[in-house]
Symmetry: C2
Subunit: 421 residues, 2 copies
C-alpha cells in the first residue's frame, strides 16, 4: 500500500505547541473583536466554481484548488471532452464568500452588519518560507455603513487587538498607516496624468519604501510618462516626513481634484481612532500607501511593526465590490490581519512556546497498582479537575525519570506517583 506520511505540499501539521499558541492568539482576537460588537460567522470552505472565477479575485483566481465533479456528472464532463471537470473550488479568500453570504442571508442580518470571519483559505501558490498553500485568514468587515464610524471602529478594534497580542512579547509600539484612494487619484490628476494612467502610476508609487522618490521617477519615465507630469507628481510627494499633516499635504492637490469632505473625513477617522487606541500606537497619514487590490474605493489602511518589512494587517473601504458581486449596492469596509505572519513574529520571540496551564498535574500509575489505590487516585483526580486543575493520568513507564523530564518539557511541574505497593 502506498502511504505518504508528509502533509500535502505547502500545508502544515500543527504540533501541540503550535496549536497552543494559535488557540491563545485566536482567543485574544475573538474576545477583542467581540468587545467591539463584531459577530463571528462562517461559510463552507467550498464555493461554487462560478463564484470563484467571477474576475473579482484577481490573480488569486489562477491559484484555485478545484474540486472535481462526481459520478454521472463527471462522466458527462469527460465524455463531452470539454475539460470542465470541476463544479466547486476551495475559497482563496474570505471576501468572495462574504459577498455570497451577505446576498444569501441579508434579511436575517443586522444593518450595519459587523462580521468577523476566521478561517483557512487555499492557494496553489509556490510554497516559500512563511507562505503556505493552506493558511488562516482573519477578517473583520462592516457592511451597510457608509459613515466613517465604520473606519473608526475597524481601525480601533484592530489596533486594540494587535496591542493585546504583541504586549505578550513586549512589543507595544507599532504603526497604522492610513490614506485614501481619492487622495492618490487627486494627486495624480493634479500632476497631469490621465485618469486611465492612474493604476500604472500607483504601481510605481507603491514601490516608495523600496526605491524612494528617485526610483519612482526613473520608473515613471521608463514607463513613458511625460517628464512634466512626473516632475509635478514628485513635487507633491517631495516633503514626506514622519508626521505628515493630512490637510497640508492635500492642500497641494486642491479642491478641484480632491473634495474637502475626503480630507475632513480622514481627519475625523484619525481623531476618532486616536480617542480609542493606545497612546503607544502611531496612527499616521501616509500619502504613499497604495494597497494592491483594485477594489478599494476610499480609505485604505495598513499596520506594521518596526523591524519587519512586511505589513501585519491591511484593509480599506470597498463600496462597489459586494454590489458588483451580488447585484445590489452595499457599502463595505474591512480590515484583515495576517494571522500566519503574526504567528511567525510571536514564534521568533517566544523561547519556550506557550506552556500548558500552570495548575497541571501528571499522575503516573504503575500498571500493577492495586485497584483500590487506583480508584482513590481517580477520585482525587476528579476533585482536582472540578477545582479547575488540569490532570493527566498516564501509565508509569519503565524509565520514569525520562518520562518526568519529558513531561516537564511539556509544562507539567507537579507529579503524583501510584506504585504497585
Amino acid at each position: 500500500m502506498k502511504f505518504v506520511k508528509t502533509p500535502v505540499k505547502g500545508m502544515c501539521d500543527m504540533l501541540p505547541s503550535d496549536m497552543r499558541l494559535r488557540e491563545h492568539i485566536l482567543s485574544l482576537i475573538k474576545s477583542t473583536y467581540a468587545s467591539y460588537g463584531f459577530m463571528e460567522i462562517e461559510t463552507p470552505v467550498m464555493e461554487h466554481i462560478e463564484n470563484l472565477t467571477s474576475k473579482q479575485g484577481g490573480d488569486n483566481e489562477k491559484l484555485i484548488f478545484k474540486v472535481m465533479k462526481r459520478g454521472a456528472e463527471l462522466r458527462r464532463a469527460i465524455d463531452a471532452g470539454k475539460e470542465e471537470f470541476a463544479d466547486n473550488g476551495l475559497r482563496y479568500d474570505l471576501t468572495v464568500p462574504l459577498a455570497r453570504y451577505y446576498a444569501n442571508n441579508k434579511e436575517k442580518l443586522p444593518v450595519p452588519f459587523k462580521a468577523l470571519q476566521i478561517g483557512n483559505v487555499w492557494r496553489a501558490d509556490n510554497p516559500q518560507k512563511g507562505r503556505f498553500r493552506q493558511f488562516m485568514q482573519c477578517d473583520i468587515d462592516i457592511l451597510g455603513d457608509d459613515t466613517n464610524l465604520a473606519e473608526i471602529e475597524l481601525v480601533s478594534a484592530t489596533s486594540d487587538m494587535l496591542s493585546r497580542i504583541f504586549a505578550e512579547i513586549g512589543i507595544t509600539d507599532f504603526t497604522i498607516h492610513i490614506n485614501d484612494r481619492q487622495i492618490l487619484k487627486g494627486a495624480a490628476l493634479k500632476a497631469g496624468f490621465a485618469e486611465e494612467d492612474i493604476p500604472a502610476v500607483l504601481i510605481s508609487l507603491d514601490k516608495f519604501d523600496k526605491i524612494g522618490l528617485d526610483g519612482i521617477r526613473k520608473d515613471l519615465i521608463e514607463n513613458g510618462f511625460a517628464e512634466e507630469a512626473v516632475d509635478n507628481y514628485l513635487s507633491i510627494y517631495a516633503d514626506l516626513g514622519q508626521d505628515m499633516d493630512c490637510r497640508a499635504f492635500c492642500a497641494q492637490i486642491g479642491e478641484d481634484y480632491l473634495p474637502d469632505k475626503v480630507v475632513q473625513g480622514l481627519e475625523e477617522i484619525m481623531a476618532g481612532a486616536r480617542a480609542m487606541i493606545s497612546e503607544h500606537v502611531k496612527l499616521v497619514f501616509d500619502p504613499t500607501l497604495v494597497r494592491g487590490m483594485g477594489y478599494y474605493t476610499g480609505t485604505i489602511f495598513e499596520a506594521g511593526i518596526d523591524g519587519y518589512s512586511f505589513s501585519i494587517a491591511g484593509g480599506g473601504r470597498y463600496d462597489k465590490m459586494i454590489g458588483r458581486f451580488c447585484g445590489q449596492d452595499v457599502s463595505a469596509c474591512g480590515f484583515s490581519i495576517g494571522f500566519e505572519r503574526i504567528i511567525t513574529i510571536l514564534k521568533d520571540h517566544l523561547e519556550n512556546g506557550t506552556p500548558v496551564a500552570e495548575n497541571s498535574v501528571a499522575i503516573l500509575i504503575d500498571k500493577n497498582a492495586p485497584m483500590d489505590k487506583k480508584l482513590e487516585t481517580f477520585a482525587r483526580a476528579r476533585q482536582l479537575r472540578e477545582a479547575g486543575g488540569h490532570v493527566t493520568i498516564l501509565p508509569m513507564r519503565k524509565n520514569m525519570k525520562q518520562q518526568i523530564a519529558k513531561l516537564e518539557e511539556e509544562g507539567y511541574h507537579s507529579f503524583e506517583k501510584v506504585y504497585k505497593d
Copy 2:
C-alpha cells in the same frame, strides 16, 4: 456574470447565532478535554489521494471530494486519457489524517500521546436533515497506551464533557454503553459459528435495538446459519436486562472462548470511570453493542440520550489500524463525539439561542453630531471596553425605534444615543 448565492449543496452558512452556540460548545469541549491533558492538534484539510483511498476508510472512500491536479500535471493526466485527474482529496474523517500525522511527527510527540482534534470533514453523501456534506468532527485519541487507563480517561473525559454541555439545557442523565469486541467474538464462537462468519453475525446482532431477539433469529436463519448455532447464540443473549452484570454474562461464554483478563479489564474500566464521572451518568455493560467500523480490536463504547434514537458519541480501541497505515504497531483508543448532532439537540431546546454578552452596550451616533461630542463618546467606549464591556458603535438610523428593537433581539439592552445637538 453567473453568481450563485446559496452555499454549495449540503453545506451551511453559519449565522451569528449559530456561531455563538457553536463557539460556546467548542469552548466547553476544549476546556474539558484540556483538563484531562488532551492536546489539540490540527492537520491540513487536504490529504494525498493515496492515503484517502488506502481501503482503511470503508464506504467513506466512495464519498471523497477529489481535488484536481493543476497545470502541467493535469495536462499530462488528460492527455494520457487515464482519468486520474486528482492528486489530493478532502479528508472524510480525522482518523486517517491522525495516522499520517503520527507517522510524520512521532519523534516530537509524547508517549502516550493524548490528542484532541476538532475540524471539518467532507463527504459527498446524499444530504438529508441533520446530515451535511461539510460537518465538524471532534475526536480524542490516546496513542501508545496499551493499558486500560486509556479507556478510563477517554470515557471519563467524554462523559464529563457531555455532562457540562447538556447541563445547559437541563439534561443531566445519559447513558454510556460499553462492550468489548472480544466478548462479541467469544459469544459467537461459543455458540458454534465459524470465525469467518463473525462479521455477518455481528451485523444481525447490531440490529437488536430495532428488531429484538426474534428479529435477529430470523435474520440469522435467513442468512443460512445453522439453527443450532443460532439457538445457542440467542440463549447467551436471552437475559438482557437494564443492569446486565458483565461477569455473569461472560461466564456463559467461558474461558475457552474469552480470556478472563478481558472481563477483568472491562470491570476495571467501568469501576475506574465511575470513580471520575457524575453519578447521573449511567455507565452500562451492553453485550449487544457492536459499532459498525471493522477496525475495532477491543473495548467499544457509545453514548446516548433518552428520547433520541441516535448515539451522540462513539469509539473504542483500534490497536491494529494505525500500524497497518504507517507500518509500525501503535496501540490506539479513541472517542469521537457527534458535534452536529449535539448542536441539533441543543437547538431543539434553546428557545432564544445564545445571547451576546450580558454587559453589551450599543452607542448610536447621529452622523451630524459634532466632533467633540463624538470624541467624548469614543473615550467613554474605550473605558467600557477596557473594563470588559462589549460596546458597538453604530450610525443612528432614521427609524431609531426599529433599530433599537432589532438590537434588543440581538441581545443588547443598554443604549446610548449621541444626537446632533
